[in-house]
Symmetry: C2
Subunit: 247 residues, 2 copies
């Protein structure tokens, strides 16, 4: 349990990717902040780097800051009473996280790979929101978006088998050019198999086996453990059509 937390702070040039880069098919426009709003947020934001596997905040900690991913990937997780870890979400560029409950974080956030974050004091942000109804509304919209993302995961976990969940996840990731090179079809998967399993609601062994099966069926190729070639997007999509079991 090494929970040391090295964060290098420096000032930010711009608030790139804040709440807009991560938006798939749906409301890109609705989540976009106006230039004025971005400048406004910049004035109270700090840029921080967290190294590989570094702690961003921990369950039960005092929730002083809101975070937004600039580059890299973070993982937000929670441990159940039985002690097992569930990854609630991976935070990609443009994603926000660190909402408090009664001033306390209920989840734990760590850097998957090295990650650069915008850090905003809740105290300052609250003041700002009270003064700026437009910004306040934007935040409401943003959290509603996060709620829908969570609902998508409920859909996935509730009715797809592990292969389908894996396919869904890969298909989501390749939308992000930071991790996917469409030319070479290379997907950089910085996650461990444990991260992957805890996200998909399965075990590392099963996650590996599923990857092996997808490779066998020509959908992907495991170049290394952390680098996939996405060989056939259509086949991956076709996987999602099937039922949970083939009887």
């Amino acid at each position: 349990m090494f929970s040391m937390n090295f964060m290098n702070r420096r000032f930010l040039p711009e608030l790139r990717g804040f709440s807009m880069e991560r938006v798939p098919k749906e409301g890109r426009a609705a989540n976009l902040l106006t230039p004025a709003q971005q400048i406004c947020l910049q004035s109270i934001a700090t840029l921080v780097d967290v190294r590989h596997n570094g702690l961003i905040f921990g369950e039960g900690g005092h929730a002083d800051f809101l975070y937004a991913v600039a580059t890299g990937m973070a993982r937000v997780s929670r441990c159940s009473e039985s002690g097992r870890r569930q990854v609630l979400a991976f935070m990609l560029p443009g994603d926000m996280f660190g909402y408090p409950e009664q001033g306390i974080y209920v989840n734990t956030a760590r850097a998957v790979s090295a990650v650069t974050l915008y850090r905003i004091s809740w105290q300052k942000l609250t003041v700002l929101l009270r003064r700026d109804p437009e910004m306040h509304a934007s935040f409401l919209t943003r959290i509603a978006f996060d709620l829908r993302q969570a609902q998508k995961r409920i859909m996935t976990l509730g009715q797809q088998n592990v292969a389908q969940r894996m396919a869904s996840f890969l298909l989501e990731l390749i939308e992000h050019t930071e991790f996917y090179d469409p030319q070479r079809r290379h997907l950089s998967l910085q996650l461990t198999r444990f991260d992957l399993a805890d996200y998909l609601g399965t075990t590392p062994e099963t996650a590996v086996r599923i990857l092996a099966r997808l490779e066998q069926e020509g959908m992907i190729k495991r170049l290394t453990a952390r680098l996939l070639e996405i060989s056939d997007v259509d086949k991956l999509n076709a996987l999602l059509e099937g039922r949970r079991r083939n009887g």
Copy 2:
């Protein structure tokens, strides 16, 4: 596919249960609206009754209203591309639902049993929120609460087996005196086995078998299909401790 929608409108006496009755261990205070805020909302809310299985709103429909449950139970669901229905949440007294995405509902809401709802025009509500930062902040808090509820479901679906999910659900329900009589230990379960299965991410057959097993082990008793006796809360809680599989 009978989507007829009879709603009886009448004016409301008070905004009971709005955003505070449903709060378990966590932020009851944080979700509570002040009396002034309640009065404010009452002035733009309408009380509507929806009969058993009646449609409240449908996926893709124009999102004109926000709803809050006064009495009864509603179900919010979505169909996956494969056509299967997933129940995202059951809405109990105090719960709010009907958040739009780009002005459109992305989920479908129906009455489980007869339900009484507070209906608030989004148009009016938006105007009100812009003028009242306190209310605006309360809404932000409320949606953040909904997000955490969704995260709880991700935990449940991600790592519990069906018996554990069933136990979790029953344990949640008995917190609501509208459905649970602590004296007789009677839990009124208005859901069909299909609703139950689509909520738990399983099939009606399995849901039945799990109920049979819980009964066999003395945790519950099926008085009728829609009425359970909760015989041993401790045993139900103990179920949650176990692993997904007993090897």
